[in-house]
């Protein structure tokens, strides 16, 4: 089916718009009584606009984009996982180690040879760490390499 992407997006946005608009009606009346403009006025307008937009998307969708399948999709998923794991490990492992791993893995998955990829990661991590911590006096987490 053509236009499936836009239709799904439209459906998602419709749900979002309705939930967003509904939530706006639930807020307690602000202290001092209701006025012409309350905290819910603007969000209500937005939700109406988005409902209209999402209906349009579902009725007149554009042709579908080509979505990645198989290996490309897997690579994409890996990249996102790497970024999340990088965030997760940034503080416990410290900047240099986690950055080497993250930049290395990404470069490697994008087509670099493992050695060059991880070397790029290590060098860039050390350079940025030194630049930030000593040059600019900002503390990036040292983690495991912390010397007290």
């Amino acid at each position: 089916m053509t236009g499936a992407g836009d239709r799904i997006l439209g459906l998602g946005l419709l749900v979002l718009a309705v939930a967003y608009g509904w939530a706006a009606q639930q807020w307690p009346e602000p202290f001092g009584g209701a006025e012409g403009v309350g905290p819910e006025t603007f969000p209500t307008i937005l939700s109406v606009v988005l409902v209209a937009g999402s209906l349009y998307l579902m009725i007149k969708p554009d042709p579908d984009a080509r979505w990645p399948v198989g290996k490309s999709a897997l690579e994409l998923a890996i990249s996102v996982v790497v970024l999340v794991v990088y965030t997760l490990l940034l503080e416990p492992l410290g900047f240099v180690i986690s950055t080497t791993l993250a930049v290395g893995t990404l470069s490697w998955r994008m087509g670099g040879t493992p050695v060059r990829a991880f070397l790029t990661g290590l060098i860039s991590a050390v350079v940025v760490f030194v630049l930030f911590n000593y040059g600019l006096d900002l503390s990036l987490p040292g983690g495991l390499l912390e010397v007290n």
Partner: protein
């Protein structure tokens, strides 16, 4: 001539060694960003924002740094257009037409030199135009009431897609999503918690800097991963400059025309730098007609679009500085910097923060000179950078974005948010929902709501106040046109641009 006085004060700000150093740094980094594959100007300026913060720069220095990056990126985009026939950024598209044929004839160095000079002329004309037009517009904008501002914001969103935009409905959707995100947090007027879900980090709202960096930088990384174009390009040499003085003089009228046209396109809502360079090129082709060898490596075919897009980039600063309403992605990112520096953009900025405004304008003039100076001798260095493979470059850029965002708040919560925005940005781009209206919505949302509230309070809840003054009606009309025109004229213009690109010996 009070303008001249202000300009002199601006030079006094911009010429301090400290600010000059950052202008130079910005010009250099900007050219780098412009010529590197996978780093557009908006993207590059976005990554620089957190860095400007962590460096603890004073506001005028931060703005000087970012505007220099902005101007530099416009210079850098042409390098890969000429050498590789791949535009470094969208406005540099038209430079491919004659730049690449020139390079194939062995005149790459000349093409690079003349495009640098034309960029300089264009930038200079644009900046002079900015100096003349901005104070007048700012004074005029002081008469705007909240209703006019509200209408103006609508105009900005409606024209953001540009005349060449594809589906105006998607621009509307994108803008709405952006404004919706901006409503998260505690309502300024009443203190009501909106969409915070009792998460402490959301009380202050979603920081637009991490949203911008996530949407641009991370989604770009994901696009490269998907396209698997990680490999580098072969090294290139540029050769020696053989450009004669006579040839240079010959192109001066072209440069002047291109710069003026570009500036006009930049100021007008909905046109932008891409259209500026397109108009400059096509007009030049028509003016010179048979006398030129356009498409086969005519030197004026390189000068015209470059003067055009640099004129446009200065022109685009006019609405951003005077009205607080940017007309393009990169100026939107510059606006983000202003807002996060706690400076309210708009006409009052010209009186309240005259040092910053005029410092930035003076820095643009100085930046253009610096750019010309570093672009001619250092072009070989930038060319060498073109062969850096994206597979090493993009992960490093992403890491720098992480570091920047982390060092603002020292919270990993923000980083998760940034990754989420990146993934969201990837899906939206895939579905052809433009990202720039989202950013603009994030930035202008609070202002829109505030102006709507003020207008309605002043009118005692009467909604017709929003379209009661002639000026406001005018804005609404243009906004309407901005949404209707792309569906009528857009396909024709797009076809022409594509046809123009195909005419040239693009594939070989």
């Amino acid at each position: 001539m009070e303008t001249l006085g202000f300009l002199m004060e601006g030079f006094a700000v911009a010429l301090t060694p400290y600010n000059l150093m950052f202008a130079l740094l910005g010009a250099f980094v900007g050219t780098l960003i412009g010529c590197l594959p996978g780093l557009g100007p908006a993207n590059g300026v976005a990554i620089m924002i957190p860095l400007a913060f962590t460096l603890g720069l004073p506001p005028e220095t931060a703005m000087i740094l970012l505007t220099s990056v902005y101007a530099g990126a416009m210079y850098g985009g042409r390098i890969s257009s000429i050498l590789l026939n791949i535009p470094g950024d969208e406005p540099a598209m038209m430079t491919c037409l004659d730049g690449y044929p020139m390079a194939q004839k062995g005149r790459a160095a000349d093409a690079l030199a003349i495009s640098a000079i034309a960029s300089f002329t264009g930038g200079l004309i644009g900046t002079v135009g900015l100096i003349m037009l901005a104070p007048i517009l700012a004074k005029f904008a002081l008469t705007f009431g909240p209703a006019e501002y509200f209408a103006l914001f609508m105009l900005a969103f409606a024209t953001l897609g540009g005349i060449t935009g594809k589906n105006p409905m998607k621009t509307v959707i994108a803008a709405t999503i952006g404004i919706m995100i901006s409503t998260v947090g505690i309502d300024i007027a009443t203190g009501t918690q909106r969409y915070t879900f009792d998460i402490l980090e959301l009380y202050e709202g979603i920081d637009f800097i991490l949203a911008i960096v996530g949407l641009f930088a991370i989604s770009e990384l994901l696009f490269f991963v998907e396209a698997r174009i990680g490999g580098g390009r072969k090294k290139m040499s540029v050769g020696k400059i053989t450009l004669s003085f006579k040839e240079l003089v010959h192109t001066i009228p072209t440069q002047l025309r291109g710069g003026v046209l570009g500036f006009i396109a930049g100021v007008l809502p909905g046109a932008g730098a891409s259209l500026g360079s397109f108009i400059s090129y096509t007009l030049e082709k028509q003016v010179l007609g048979k006398k030129g060898t356009f498409g086969e490596g005519d030197i004026r075919g390189v000068a015209a679009p470059e003067a055009g897009n640099n004129g446009a980039s200065s022109g685009a600063l006019v609405p951003m500085l005077t009205l607080g309403v940017p007309g393009s992605g990169t100026t939107a990112v510059l606006l983000a910097m202003l807002i996060s520096l706690n400076i309210t953009p708009g006409p009052l900025m010209f009186t309240q923060h005259a040092d910053i405004v005029w410092g930035v304008i003076a820095a643009l003039l100085i930046g253009n000179v610096l750019l010309l100076i570093i672009n001619i001798p250092l072009v070989g260095f930038f060319v060498r950078l073109l062969s850096v493979p994206p597979m090493y470059l993009l992960p490093i850029v992403t890491m720098v974005a992480f570091v920047g965002v982390y060092s603002i708040s020292h919270s990993t919560f923000d980083l998760y948010f940034m990754v989420a925005f990146g993934v969201g940005g990837y899906f939206l781009r895939k579905l052809e929902i433009p990202l720039v209206p989202i950013i603009l919505g994030l930035l202008l949302g609070p202002e829109m709501e505030k102006n709507l509230g003020h207008a309605l309070i002043l009118s005692d809840g009467d909604w017709t106040v929003l379209w009661s003054s002639p000026l406001a009606i005018g804005f609404w009309l243009v906004a309407g046109l901005g949404l209707v025109l792309p569906t009528l004229v857009g396909p024709i213009l797009r076809r022409r641009m594509r046809a123009a690109l195909k005419e040239g010996p693009v594939s070989d």
